[in-house]
Symmetry: C2
Subunit: 245 residues, 2 copies
C-alpha cells in the first residue's frame, strides 16, 4: 500500500490517497489516534471514485470527526481510472438498452452485470482490509456500508472481520444472492428507498426478510433512489458505534 497524496481538513481529519497495486483508494482517519480506530469500508455504485468523491468525503469526515472511526474506500474494478473489461461493458450496455426501451431488466442481465463484479471486487476489499488493518492507527472490527448490496452480502459471508453492515437495498440483486443472504449472521441495517425507480420494493423487502441475522433493522424512507435522507448518515454511524466499539 503506497500513499500517493494527503491533506488535512479543518476538522483535523487526515485524508490519504493510496494505491494498492493497480487499485486506487482513499483513507480518512480521525485527528486524534490515541487508540486504534475501528474501520468502516465505504462501498459505492460503479460510477468512478472521482465522480462520487463529494458524497464519500462528507460521510467519511463525519465518521472520523464525530465518531472517531477510520473510513476507507477503493475503486471498483472496471470503474474510474481502472481498465474496463469487455463482459462488464457488454452487460452495462445491455442494461442501458432495456432501461431506455422501458423493458423489465431480465435475470440474465442482472447476473451478468453483478456476479462477475462481486467475484472481482470482494477479494480486492479483502486485500484492502489486510493493508488497512496493518496500519497502527487502525484496529478492528470492520463495518461495511453502501452500494452494490451483493458485494456487502458476499463480504459479510466470507470475511469474519466484517462485524456489521449498513447496506442499501437499491441495486439490482441476482437471485443467487438471496440464497447467500440467508448465510449472513452479522448485525445489519438495511436502507430502502420506498419509491426507488430502479428497484422493486417487494424484492427489497424479500431480501431484508432473507437475511439470516438476528439483529436486522430496515430503514425505509419515502423517495426515489437518490433521495436517502441526510439523517440516515447519523443513523448509520450510530449503528456502527453500537457494534464496532
Amino acid at each position: 500500500m503506497d500513499f500517493t497524496s494527503e491533506q488535512r481538513f479543518d476538522d483535523g481529519v487526515l485524508e490519504r490517497s493510496f494505491a494498492l497495486g493497480e487499485i486506487p483508494g482513499i483513507l480518512w482517519t480521525p485527528a486524534s489516534t490515541s487508540a486504534p480506530a475501528p474501520l468502516i469500508l465505504i462501498g459505492h455504485p460503479p460510477l468512478g471514485l472521482d465522480k462520487i468523491y463529494p458524497r464519500l468525503v462528507a460521510r467519511a469526515r463525519y465518521y472520523a470527526a464525530e465518531f472517531g472511526f477510520a473510513a476507507a474506500t477503493i475503486e471498483l474494478p472496471g470503474s474510474g481510472v481502472r481498465p474496463r473489461w469487455e463482459a462488464s461493458e457488454q452487460a452495462r450496455a445491455d442494461l442501458r438498452r432495456v432501461m431506455q426501451a422501458g423493458e423489465p431488466v431480465g435475470a440474465e442481465i442482472v447476473d451478468a452485470l453483478v456476479l462477475p463484479l462481486v467475484e472481482k471486487a470482494v477479494p480486492e476489499w479483502q486485500t484492502a482490509m489486510d493493508a488497512l488493518l496493518a496500519l497502527p492507527e487502525i484496529g478492528g472490527p470492520v463495518g461495511f456500508e453502501g452500494g452494490i448490496i451483493s458485494i456487502g452480502i458476499r463480504l459479510a459471508v466470507v470475511d469474519p472481520r466484517i462485524a456489521a453492515a449498513n447496506l442499501f437495498a437499491g441495486s439490482l440483486v441476482p437471485g443467487v444472492m438471496f440464497e447467500e443472504a440467508r448465510e449472513v449472521t452479522i448485525p445489519l441495517q438495511v436502507l430502502l428507498q420506498w419509491d426507488d425507480e430502479g428497484n422493486e420494493r417487494q424484492e427489497a423487502l424479500n431480501l431484508y426478510d432473507a437475511f439470516g441475522s438476528k439483529e436486522k433493522t430496515l430503514h425505509a424512507n419515502l423517495g426515489g433512489h437518490a433521495g436517502v435522507p441526510e439523517f440516515e448518515v447519523e443513523a448509520g454511524a450510530r449503528f456502527f458505534a453500537r457494534h464496532l466499539k
Copy 2:
C-alpha cells in the same frame, strides 16, 4: 390539573403524578429547566398505567435526562383505575374469544374495539396538552409516540400542536384509519415488528405507505410484538430531537 405526588430520581428527573378531573397521569421533567422543554406524549396499550409503569418510566427518564424533553402520559378510558364501559368490555371479550379460537379478527371487532377508544381518548390527550403546555417549564412543540396507532393518527390529523410522531404499527387498525392516515402530514417514524404475532405485516406496510407525510421512516426489526429492540428508544429520541427543537 392537580399534582398528587412527586419524587425526584438520581438523574435529577422529577416525576409527578397528576389528576386531570377523573383521569390520572404522570409527568416527567428534566432536572434543569432553564428553557421550556419540548413535550413528548407517551401513548401505550390499554393495560393500565400501573402495569406498564416500568416501561414508561424508563423511556421518560431517558428522554428527560439525556435530551431535556418533558414527557407525560395519561390513563386510557376504560383502563387501570378508570371505569369500564360496556361496549368496550364486550369488544375486548369478543377479541379474546376469536383469538383463543384461532379465528381471524374480523373488521367489526377491530372497529368496535378501537374506534370508540379513539373518540374518547383523543380529546383527553388534547385536554392534557392544554394543561401541560400551560406549565411554565413546558413549551411546545409536542411529539406523540407509542401504542394504539389509531390514536396517534387521529391526534396528528386534528391537533396542529403535534409536530412529529413515532408510532408503533403493531395494533389492530380499523380500515377507516387507513384513509385518515392519508391526511397526516407531520414527520413520522413508524416501528414495525417483522414477526408481530398480532399484526399482519402487509397491513402494516400498507399503513406506512398510506401516510401522507413527506418525511416518514419505517424502522422494521426482527421479532415479535413485544420484541422492539432497546436501541429504538434512542432512535426515537433522536427523531424527536430533530423535530422538536
